[in-house]
Structure formats: structure tokens, C-alpha cells
Symmetry: C2
Subunit: 226 residues, 2 copies
């Protein structure tokens, strides 16, 4: 499903070049559940941005179902993102002055899905926020904002969910509930999930764990079926 | 140093009243290292905002060194904050388009401290970001942004540091380095630290742990000297 070959990402700053990704090769098959761990600054979010077609490699290729998406025009990539991917960003990215329900409904509006309000309400129930549907971001706790972002990422039933520290602001119990929700999506609907985390207890939900250091994947471990 | 008595915080929304804090009594002595844990939505950030004089109780009193700060005018509370408190917010709150060095220097400008640039640079060294001094927030990873916020919180040598999930975006090793840094501030400079976390390994650095549920402190445990 996902194939990265020789992917690099270099940022040019006043102080010199930053090699955020150096020669990354990666294959992820449909239906896999992958965790990515690694030091702060090792390139995890950069990798996620490239996987989600939010950023382009400096060199190398990204094939999604055999199609070189790194070279497609922006408009095509934008359509792809909306239809195929669900994102949970490291800083949730909720829009100001929209209620939780409206935030979750947003991807469905772009995809012209009918029955949107009902699907959005249902997604909020799944993350335990039915009673916060009409709260705006400033009226939500950090963990509640993160859960709204999670609900938004799965409401279009995407084929691929890219979640950057999806439990970073959640207490252990709520975090485990979210991980169980993601596990069910993988097991029951064959959705592919790639998530970044620094907590081993979260990574343990995934069958495969990658470790990154200095812009490279230094470890790739698949555990046998549980 | 800190004394809360009968503190409540109620938000009025279209859907009804939200009792974010219900009857909180709390005493924290100077030089203590306190961790606060509890479920998402249990009132931790609300409590931190009141402790930091960023928000006022709906009822009850907050005495800081015997002085009722909940009743002081905004201008006096603002001065107090700048001089006495260091904050790490749950969503880092860096200013757009300012370099890491400038972000850390900001509290020193308000306090009219000389030698600012040097103190700011030193604080960045302490959180491992000497080589990111001139990067802007969009050029920093999530964990790097969080560390800039941490450096900013300690640059004025505050008496009290209030840190809301200060290691939420940090890998385990970097998180432990930050916790060691906070421990040294407590042990060597008698700074009081109150931090929110959902990770037991982080809470274990503090001698005292409070647990919150539904707006109340339900547990308060001091461990014997280590
Ligand atoms: N301005 C507001 N208006 C209405 N409700 C609010 C407002 N701010 C916070 N709340 C509610 O108050 C409760 C406590 O919020 P708080 O941010 O203190 O929780 P928290 O313990 O920090 O949670 P988390 O671990 O998720 O960050 C939550 O249920 C939240 O929805
Ligand atoms: N726009 C940019 N310009 C310059 N450098 C950048 C830019 N974006 C990211 N970087 C640098 O690239 C490196 C990788 O960043 P990235 O956000 O991928 O790290 P990360 O693994 O997600 O870290 P964290 O765990 O802290 O979130 C970092 O050292 C960062 O400073
Ligand atoms: Mg990141
Ligand atoms: Mg909070």
C-alpha cells in the first residue's frame, strides 16, 4: 500500500541544512498497525507529513498503491488526503470557534457525505465526548480537544489513519480506550494505522514498531501474532 | 506558600453548568515538588490556571504567601505572574515568527533583566536546543517546541513553576532529562514545582502526588524521602 524508496527531506535554514529525513525506505501493507518511536527531533512528524501528502520528499519516491504520489499536483494530492487519509496532528489543529460536533463533521462536508450530523455525533460518542458536542475548543480540556481530533480523523472511514502522538494529552485509562478503538478499526475494518508515540504501552497495541534516529529508520520489529 | 480553601470553578454554557472544580482545598509549601494526575477533563488545567493567576475561582480563596491573590486587580496579578511564576502550558503557546532564543528571552524583557541574551542562550543549552536557537516554531519539532516553552518557564528563576504535561511530546529519554532538570531546580534552588502528567514514570520524580477526579482532589500522597 505504502512504499517509500530513498526518501530524504532537507530543510535549508540560515544556520545551514537540516537533514530531517535521510534515505528512508519503508513498506507498509494494507491493514497493518504500525507504531513509530524515536527521539525528539528524529524525523517522525516529517515522515508522517510525507506519508499524508502534506509535504513532498526532497528526493526519493513515495508510491501509494503503486502510484507515485510525491509527483502529483497539489489539487490531486488534496483530494486524495480528504478521501483516503485521516489525520491526528501533534497539535490537534482544531479550528477556532467551531463546536466539537462541527469540527468532526468537517471532513464529511468536503466529501459530500449525507447523514453527516449523525455520523459526527456517533464518532464523538466513540471517543466519550457525547456531552461536549457543543463546546468550542476553548471550552474543552487538552485531552478532550485531542479526542475531537481523533473522532474527526476516523469519521470518513479512511483507508489510512496517520496519528501523531494521539494519546499525548490523555490519561492512561482514556489513552487505552482510544488505542482499543484504533485496534478495533484495524481488526474489524482493515484500516491501516500508522501512529507516532513515545510510550511503550501505546506502541504495544501495534504489531509492528519502527524506531527512528537522526532522520533514519534504525529498527523495524514485527511481533508474532498475539 | 500556596493555600486554596473551598475553591470552585463553574463554567456556564448553553448546555448547562460545568463544575470544573468543586470545593478544592490544597496546601503546597515552598520547595515542594508536586505531581497532579487524573482523568482527561477532571480539572487539572483549570486548577493550574487558578494557581498561576490566569483565572479566578468562582468561589473560595487562593492565598499566596498569605495574600489573597484571587481578589487582586488584573494588573497586580499580571506583575505577580511575570515575576514569580514560570509556566509551561498544555499547548506550549509559543509566539509565531519568533526564534527559539527570542521566545525564551521574552520574560526577561518584561522583567527588565540585563544580560538577557546570555541567560536565554544558557536556558536553551539546558534543554538541549543550543543548535535550534534561531529556528522559528514552524521549524521545530513538537518536542523541541515544548522544550523551548520549558526553557522560557525557568529563565527568570521563578519561585514557582507550573508545568502542564511538560513531557507530553517528549520521547522517554528526553523527558527524563527534563525531569532531572526540574528536580535539580527543586533540590538546588528551592524552587516549587507543580506539574500535571499522566505518566507514572514522570510523577515518580515528585515527592507528592495528587489525583483528581470530577473537579476534586481525591488522593494526596507524600512518599518518604528517597
Ligand atoms: N471555558 C470553558 N467552558 C466550559 N467548560 C469548560 C471550559 N474550560 C474547561 N471546561 C470543562 O471543564 C472540565 C475540566 O477541564 P480541564 O481543562 O481542567 O481538564 P483537564 O483535567 O486538564 O483535562 P485534560 O487531561 O484532558 O487536559 C472539562 O470537562 C472541560 O470540558
Ligand atoms: N521547517 C523546518 N525548517 C527547519 N528545520 C525543521 C523544519 N521542520 C522540522 N525541522 C527539523 O527537522 C527535525 C525533525 O523534525 P520532526 O518534527 O520530524 O521531529 P519529530 O521526530 O517529530 O520530533 P518530536 O518527537 O519532538 O515531535 C528537527 O530537528 C527539526 O528541528
Ligand atoms: Mg513530532
Ligand atoms: Mg488539561
Amino acid at each position: 500500500m505504502i512504499r517509500l524508496e530513498g526518501v530524504t527531506k532537507t530543510y535549508l535554514t540560515g544556520a545551514g541544512a537540516v537533514h530531517a529525513l535521510r534515505d528512508v525506505d519503508l513498506e507498509v501493507r494494507a491493514g497493518e498497525f504500525v507504531a513509530i518511536m524515536g527521539q525528539s527531533g528524529s524525523g517522525k512528524s516529517t515522515l508522517m507529513n510525507i506519508l499524508g501528502c502534506l509535504d513532498r520528499p526532497t528526493s526519493g519516491t513515495y508510491r501509494l498503491d503503486g502510484r507515485d504520489v510525491g509527483r502529483l499536483p497539489d489539487s490531486v494530492r488534496a483530494k486524495l488526503r480528504g478521501a483516503a487519509f485521516g489525520f491526528v496532528f501533534q497539535s490537534y489543529n482544531l479550528l477556532p470557534r467551531m463546536s466539537a460536533l462541527e469540527q468532526v463533521e468537517l471532513p464529511l462536508i468536503y466529501q459530500r457525505v449525507p447523514n453527516r450530523r449523525h455520523l459526527a455525533a456517533e464518532a464523538l460518542v466513540r471517543v466519550g465526548l457525547a456531552d461536549r458536542a457543543h463546546h468550542q475548543p476553548t471550552q474543552l480540556s487538552g485531552g478532550q480537544q485531542q479526542r475531537v481530533a481523533i473522532a474527526r480523523s476516523l469519521v470518513v472511514n479512511p483507508r489510512l489513519i496517520l496519528a501523531d502522538e494521539p494519546t499525548g494529552a490523555l490519561d492512561t485509562k482514556t489513552g487505552q480506550e482510544v488505542m482499543q478503538l484504533l485496534t478495533d478499526l484495524v481488526d474489524q475494518r482493515g484500516i491501516t494505522v500508522v501512529l507516532v508515540t513515545h510510550e511503550q504501552s501505546v506502541a504495544d497495541f501495534a504489531r509492528r514498531t519502527l524506531r527512528m534516529r537522526d532522520g533514519m529508520i534504525v529498527e523495524d520489529v514485527v511481533r508474532p501474532s498475539l
